[in-house]
Symmetry: C2
């Protein structure tokens, strides 16, 4: 194969994902080269420390601690940014793109924060920025939205995008165990980070929702513009109440667009899903995404959302795509970046335009008249109650009051929550979950 062109790849970052890419790429390299008709060379790898025990063997000559040098190496055409964060990662991504290189990234936080700048830079200099691994790990959801479902507009996309949260929720439900002990166990098992905040408070899911919303609708929605609620206030009692009502609980990203008003809503929150919904039954570290297109109807994708191997699978598919584009000379595939904003002039829906049904759990004094006071607050905000369950609370002399509502406005519900929290008979901050009324 000495006559075939060579494409050189640089890896910036050699942690779990980087080592996974090296391992699987090395194994499948010959097959991929045959398929592409080019030679592929993992040319240089930027690591934090040169000497370190690693799960893969790599020649010392290929290693460097200078990630920026890898990103700007003139002999390298494809740069994989696998170091994470939004500092050095952004710097080297932009540096590589400015040199016309293609960049493959798994970094949803970076895309969410600097996507507009990154895609504009790629476009200006003729390179590509590929990011299949940034959302839902091994599930090829980016390619599905961008290419496979290109004939569609997307009224609804929703799904489980964070395996750590789904693992914790699954354990809480199956083991009837409180959040804190399950989280501690998840940390011991390596399913949760030492600092769990990014995952359990919903921010990681929000980053991914931002990426999907941009792909589907061409607008950048920042997490600060979304309703983002995490899973840390959910209790085993919530799972029992939800089950009585016919639901499971999942942390969902929801991207909904009303094509008549052209308003887009992007949110992340724990959601009650009917037990018959396939996504309600996706458990453990798996991710699942439901995509409703106006032509194709609803399609559903399930797979491992994280981990060394699933992420490496996605990174390698992007490397192959980037190599195919390079081999073809001129770009034969244009990322949606430059064109999507033109085709979609939608705006964010203000909270008063968001409607759903709610599940509300209040810890109240166990005495007469409390339900009447709660109900009158809700009536004042025109929130209509659909069902009530009353149980003993875990706190002494207290009761747990679980209410579900009919369709209500997000803004009215927020005011209701504020007023309920002021009632003397309401002992703890109310727990609010949303009910997912997805037709599919």
């Amino acid at each position: 194969m000495s006559q075939t062109p060579v494409i050189r790849i640089g890896l910036c970052g050699f942690g779990t994902v980087g080592q996974g890419v090296w391992k699987h790429f090395t194994r499948s390299r010959t097959e991929l080269e045959n398929r592409l008709g080019v030679r592929l060379e993992l040319h240089r790898v930027a690591v934090r420390k040169l000497r370190k025990a690693r799960s893969v063997r790599i020649p010392a000559a290929r290693l460097t601690v200078d990630a920026l040098a890898v990103a700007t190496d003139p002999s390298i055409q494809i740069v994989c940014e696998l170091i994470g964060g939004t500092g050095l990662a952004r710097e080297l991504t932009l540096a590589a793109l400015r040199l016309g290189k293609s960049v493959v990234s798994a970094n949803k936080a970076l895309i969410c924060a600097h996507g507009a700048e990154i895609f504009a830079t790629a476009h200006r200099h003729g390179g590509h920025f590929l990011f299949e691994a940034s959302v839902a790990g091994g599930i090829p959801i980016i390619k599905a939205l961008r290419e496979g479902l290109v004939a569609n507009r997307f009224p609804h996309i929703y799904g489980i995008l964070n395996g750590t949260c789904n693992y914790i929720l699954t354990q809480m439900e199956e083991q009837d165990a409180p959040y804190k002990s399950v989280l501690a166990e998840a940390k011991r098992m390596g399913y949760a980070e030492a600092d769990e905040a990014l995952d359990v408070q919903g921010w990681d899911t929000a980053h991914k929702a931002s990426v999907l919303a941009w792909l589907a609708h061409g607008v950048w929605v920042k997490p600060a513009q979304m309703v983002v609620e995490g899973i840390d206030r959910i209790t085993p009692a919530d799972f029992k109440n939800a089950a009585v009502l016919g639901y499971g609980i999942k942390l969902l990203a929801v991207i909904a667009r009303d094509f008549s008003s052209d308003e887009l809503s992007v949110r992340v929150h724990p959601t009650l899903l009917p037990v018959g919904n396939v996504i309600a039954n996706v458990s453990g570290v798996f991710n699942a995404i439901s995509v409703t297109g106006d032509v194709v109807g609803t399609t559903l994708y399930i797979g491992r959302g994280a981990g060394q191997d699933a992420t490496a699978s996605a990174v390698i598919s992007d490397i192959v795509d980037a190599a195919a584009l390079l081999r073809g000379g001129k770009s034969a595939y244009q990322p949606a970046a430059e064109t999507l904003p033109a085709r979609n002039g939608c705006r964010l829906a203000p909270p008063e335009h968001i409607k759903c049904r709610y599940y509300l759990r209040l810890t109240v004094r166990d005495q007469p008249g409390v339900l009447a006071r709660v109900a009158s607050v809700m009536a004042r905000h025109h929130i209509s109650i659909a069902s009530v369950i009353q149980n003993p609370a875990e706190v002494a002399d207290a009761a747990s009051l679980v209410l579900t509502t009919h369709q209500s406005h997000e803004r009215a519900m927020r005011s209701t929550l504020r007023d309920l929290a002021r009632l003397a008979s309401v002992l703890e901050r109310p727990v609010l979950l949303r009910i997912g009324d997805f037709n599919d």
Copy 2:
């Protein structure tokens, strides 16, 4: 946009799918043009009759009855073959490919019968043959296997690939209704063809399995080389027996490769799936495919498998891919065709190498000693019985004997069936179903 290049598209065939393509393409055309940076023109449409009531409006000047003239029109670069069959469809596909055009097809029967010739012709003349719509309608499974999961080898692929069969099985289970009345109802509803044989006997599923097996493993397996069994001998009693045993029943395509022996098994048969398996719960006209990759683990895809809109969604995504390739000048994406056979030298597993667990329903004389005779036949062939259920049969003086086996060889099971059918106490041809022991 007068300076932008124009890509002209011809439709051969203007039935349900063709009209769907016209309708949705016309609606999304401007968005797709912006995305690609080219003008797209549905230039000519070949129909069977010029004058006919149609659900879409189309200028008479664009119509012709000469499909071959559309396929060979020098001004047309992308030809959509939507007429079906393997006669004229093959002729015009090859004619267009020989002229270096790209062809988009939904025709699994054609690909299954003539895929090797078609892909070789596309490769020789520099065009592309795209076939996303041929398997699982609107689910972008071809793209997922070919590009998204390119880093993987595939030990297991299985799924529901025929919506008509899944609709019939779902109705039989939910309504406790016999096959014949459900089939008649499905025909009235338009969910089954007037001649149902292709669907219910498993051949349509076999065509699609052939396409997926080729994509994943690079070998053409013809339906005649597969075990292909249909759904027409399943009764409501089978659903009840399966439920007692903890299973649902689905018509599955199964593509299994053993990478140690490099043997490939491709089969189509009704399969008992554990009720907890997501695919066991996919009902109605939906398709579902489980793909296990050695890197990514198991990913699952669910969506509408047929119908005007889902198929049009897939055809349009192929048109856009073909246009992107044309715009890029030289090919930037090479179909797996030429390279896959090189990378995968596997051979078909002989039946004696196929193992699974079986469900066997016998209609037997209701008299003592029958189970002993049945059991001794099975013992002679080294088939080990796992469970027995005995019920009254629908036939007078007869009983229904339902046996499940431990892992057994396909060849031994066939011999057993032959010998059981010869027993005087066995009154009808035995019904054999396979049990799907998929880990995912």
